[in-house]
């Protein structure tokens, strides 16, 4: 891990948070602790309660039960103090449609109590950083979805916040812009911000997060580093692609020595989890040769977060 263990104070702590909307228990005993300077990825299927958690932690919503601190401050009783130290990008971009991109950033800058001059130069910096320099003087209603999203992120970064909440920050961005957004997030983390990030893209969590919490029905069901989560569902993955689908059952019998393989007839692929990489590889290769099964591709890889996600939320 790139972050020093010395920074061991927690920037964000939630204990037993509960929130009900009518009959729906959006949060049902939500616990989480994120150390200072870390990026925590919050994953979970639609409706798991991710947005609700973010809204409570960023003081927009009051919990029915439990408690939470952000930057050491209680979100319920010290909300005004908390707001001085956080940045929030909501799931839907929250930008003023009638203003131009530049006017938006200048307005939010003034509301962070920058002087008119500071707000102007900060707006210019952010427009450049987020690739909006040319669109800066256009009204938001003429922006594309991705441009809105980028402007929204830029507004969140006006003041380097101690704790940053990003609710699906890159939804709707193309790969290049997603990379730029990731870069901007990394810059803030390097400057010391702690980040709570919800996302549907598991590669995003893999790229950015030091810690991952998987949420289901309002509760964290698994938590740990990406590596820990991956090893939790078994060791490395051996992927085998055959030339001929008719060989699948026989190859399956060979792989059964390691565990029950997952079989995908369409791509003629078998996957099994193994513990000892090298001996497994040579064992399988030898057995295939002996049976005369033609192998198109064989590879060894770490499990993906997608596999973890599908398994724990199933």
């Amino acid at each position: 891990m790139s972050h020093s263990e010395a920074m061991n104070s927690y920037s964000l702590v939630a204990e037993g948070l509960r929130k009900r909307f009518g009959e729906t228990h959006a949060l049902d005993g939500f616990d989480l602790a994120v150390r200072e300077g870390m990026v925590c990825g919050l994953l979970g299927p639609n409706g798991a309660g991710k947005t609700t958690a973010v809204r409570i932690l960023s003081t927009l919503l009051r919990a029915d039960g439990g408690r939470a601190t952000v930057a050491g401050l209680d979100v319920a009783t010290q909300a005004a103090e908390v707001r001085r130290r956080i940045g929030l990008a909501t799931q839907e971009p929250a930008v003023d449609e009638i203003l131009t991109g530049r006017e938006n950033l200048e307005m939010w800058g003034r509301l962070y109590h920058l002087s008119a001059k500071q707000a102007r130069s900060r707006a210019q910096e952010l427009l450049e950083q987020f690739g909006l320099a040319e669109a800066g003087n256009k009204r938001i209603k003429h922006y594309s979805g991705g441009m809105r999203r980028r402007l929204d992120l830029a507004a969140t970064f006006i003041q380097a916040p101690r704790v940053l909440f990003l609710d699906e920050p890159t939804t709707g961005l193309d790969p290049r812009n997603r990379n730029d957004a990731w870069q901007a997030i990394r810059t803030l983390v390097a400057a010391g911000s702690t980040v709570l990030l919800t996302t549907q893209y598991l590669d995003e969590a893999d790229q950015l997060a030091d810690q991952i919490a998987v949420l289901r029905e309002g509760r964290v069901i698994v938590e740990g580093t990406p590596d820990r989560l991956k090893s939790m569902i078994g060791g490395d993955r051996l992927d085998l692609v055959l030339r001929d689908a008719r060989d699948l059952p026989e190859a399956g019998d060979i792989l059964a020595a390691f565990g029950r393989p997952a079989v995908d007839p369409d791509t003629r692929r078998l996957t099994v989890s193994v513990t000892d990489r090298m001996s497994a590889l040579s064992h399988v290769m030898r057995a295939m040769e002996a049976k005369g099964i033609e192998v198109e591709d064989i590879s060894m890889r770490r499990p993906t977060l997608d596999e973890v996600f599908l398994k724990v939320t199933a």
């Binding site: 003081t59 927009l60 909501t90 839907e92 009204r139």
Partner: protein
């Protein structure tokens, strides 16, 4: 606390930019009253007679001023609901912006709009032959009472705006318009059936309009009920009471959004 004024000015400026970029709002806000003056002054005015008034248009104009101030509540309402419905309010609320600043910013920009509206109406009134007869100081006092009424209704607009959907807010004038007419705005309550005359006389709008007629020196019906005789007092007391009730309510509604 020190930032309340800075915040409110930032927000008021933004609101004014919104208003400037919305041609329909400008047209309806500024032209509609002029159309109403012409409509009531000449179309209905020719058929109207109010006890004690020599000239209907002289009686009408203070009513028009008052009604415009009252109907202004819908513009506050519509803006507040649409803003609350698209996320921007969430951003305000996650920032260290003073709540008083946000609400006060709305009030400042609405007051600037109202001053403009009133200036145009006064000009339209002068053009159709209305005038004040008691000197400029009394006329200014009347303008002050009108703006006081508008100011108090801003808080009602913000409060209702935070509680209603944009659709409901858009339809609110259907309720509001009759309320501005069950008053002494266009006719004298003495011409109404008794069950309607009482609320018409006690209507806060009637107090402001009656007080304005007195200050402008525009002749017309003066009732003999307690409310009519103390119009000047009520024209101050009503707005103050409304503000005292709805200012805290709207600040609270803002704080409690989506709880």
């Amino acid at each position: 606390m020190t930032y309340v004024l800075y915040d409110s000015w930032t927000i008021a400026r933004t609101n004014l930019v919104h208003w400037r970029r919305n041609p329909t709002a400008i047209a309806s806000g500024l032209l509609y009253p002029v159309v109403m003056v012409l409509l009531f002054g000449y179309v209905f005015g020719s058929a109207m007679a109010v006890a004690g008034a020599d000239d209907y248009r002289d009686y009408l104009m203070p009513g028009m001023f008052g009604q415009t101030m009252a109907v202004g509540i819908t513009s506050t309402l519509v803006v507040v609901t649409t803003q609350a419905s698209y996320g921007v309010t969430d951003r305000y609320r996650s920032m260290p912006v003073s709540q008083a600043g946000v609400v006060l910013g709305r009030a400042i920009s609405d007051m600037i709009n109202s001053v403009l509206e009133l200036a145009i109406l006064v000009a339209a009134g002068l053009a159709v032959g209305w005038s004040w007869h008691n000197g400029p100081l009394n006329a200014l006092a009347a303008i002050g009472l009108l703006l006081l009424l508008r100011f108090s209704l801003i808080w009602v607009g913000i409060f209702a705006g935070l509680k209603l959907t944009p659709e409901a807010a858009g339809a609110s004038w259907m309720l509001l318009l009759p309320l501005t007419m069950v008053a002494n705005t266009f006719v004298s309550p003495s011409q109404m059936p008794g069950w309607m005359a009482v609320p018409a006389e006690w209507n806060p709008l009637s107090a402001t309009v009656a007080a304005c007629r007195r200050l402008f020196g525009n002749k017309g019906w003066v009732g003999d009920s307690w409310a009519s005789e103390h119009a000047m007092l009520l024209a101050v007391a009503w707005p103050v009471a409304i503000t005292l009730v709805f200012l805290p309510l709207s600040a609270r509604a803002y704080r409690r959004l989506s709880r």
